[in-house]
Symmetry: C2
Subunit: 261 residues, 2 copies
């Protein structure tokens, strides 16, 4: 089955019915996918403030009403508890299980945060003929913990996590301009060039994801990464937190290009 | 005394000493000025969510820590309770007084929201040779309550308030492009042309501010306005809320052009 040109609504239905349980990369071409983080209401202010203070790694696309499993803007008919192919449940900062539905865990005090994802800006980079190494090599994007401290908010704090894409020098300016135009999905790079400047000692050893080939003369370009808020949540060890499983995203009804405005 | 080229730090000192009590228009050329809204912590989540859901009329520049009278980013040495020339205190939605200091009202559960202001984008418009009628005529900008419903959040809801600047047709595109580049200070217009489309019956009768001349052939251009969140707060009638008095803003250490990035 080819999901590339299927509508988000239809793919979400298949996910809800348990017919899709794998990762969502490449599904519903042109539509934005979103990271999920569900927290109890008593932590929601701190998390929303953390995202307000750190919009580059944590660009919020939508926040649900308290206790609601539904959204109003980015995917109005989606069921947050069932329309993601795989969820992770964390208790006190420890991963306690992966599930295809989190309906049985739902609480009336849950707040869902939907966060922009680099899949959106990668589709813009590809449209601008910027090569993306980890896609070429069929790997996950390499991600690194930097020495850049996020602005703390309440119980949430931590270093910024970045994703890296090596680029030929003549593609760097295009990549900066194309992504700077999309602040709702991480925006422009946070750093270009020497990894040690942001505390990365060995570019061949990412903290998350897979290493990719960096050819001689290529420049590593680093973007703020959505793993940053997840990492901040895990360090805070809340009694419960639910996220998507990496790569298993919410497919929204919003087109990537709409995120420019 | 000419405050146009004085530093924000120096002007804030004069305000703190009670030597400046008037409005801040034109002070510290090039530096951003900010709207203030102080609320008790138990309303802070709803207000932060309202601003997240309505970023065009309510672009947050910084949120203080709970109980803190100090900021970290936009004006690190400013005292929120003393460095604005005139404050308004509202109790249960009713204006109960104007003060040059709100130190005596301060509570350990207060949270301060600093919100972007159209003064910043007007300086960009002037730099781009776009004429601004209310400045030419020495009036306050005309503001209107529209039929555009804001996305509600908790106790906060209401219609979007807009400001209007009449432009010659050949300046409209420049004005859109210049302000679209500054999303942290309201960004692009929300509407161009026929006022009735957004529920404005009579452009000569603004709901706030002053009417300005609209010459034959000129096009009224409408931007989301920072009065929107103030209006939402007043409608919600919180036990206490403190704002700046109109035109009496916090002068920040951030340059207007920095708000583009």
């Amino acid at each position: 089955m080819d999901y590339t040109n299927m509508s988000p609504k239809k793919v979400r239905e298949l996910i809800r019915q348990g017919k899709i349980t794998g990762n969502t990369a490449g599904m519903c071409a042109g539509y934005a996918q979103a990271n999920l983080c569900i927290l109890p209401k008593d932590l929601a202010y701190d998390f929303l403030l953390f995202s307000q203070r750190n919009p580059r790694p944590c660009p919020i696309l939508e926040v649900s009403d308290v206790g609601s499993r539904f959204l109003k803007t980015i995917a109005p008919d989606a069921d947050i508890a069932n329309d993601i192919p795989k969820y992770r449940v964390y208790e006190n900062g420890v991963l306690t299980g992966e599930y295809t539905s989190v309906e049985k865990f739902w609480r009336n005090d849950f707040v869902s945060f939907l966060i922009g994802c680099s899949f959106s800006f990668e589709s813009e980079l590809i449209a601008a003929n910027v090569p993306i190494r980890h896609i070429e090599e069929g790997r996950n994007v390499p991600m690194y913990i930097t020495n850049i401290e996020c602005e703390p908010a309440g119980i949430f704090h931590g270093k910024m996590v970045v994703s890296m894409r090596p680029l030929p020098p003549d593609k760097v300016v295009t990549a900066v301009a194309a992504t700077a135009a999309m602040p709702k999905v991480h925006g422009a790079p946070i750093h270009i060039g020497d990894p040690s400047v942001i505390g990365i000692d060995d570019i061949s050893k990412p903290d998350f994801g897979d290493a990719v080939t960096v050819n001689p003369g290529e420049i590593p370009v680093f973007w703020p990464c959505g793993v940053t808020p997840q990492s901040a949540v895990m360090s805070a060890k809340p009694p419960i937190a639910i996220t998507h499983s990496p790569g298993h995203m919410l497919i929204t009804d919003v087109k990537n290009v709409e995120l420019k405005y």
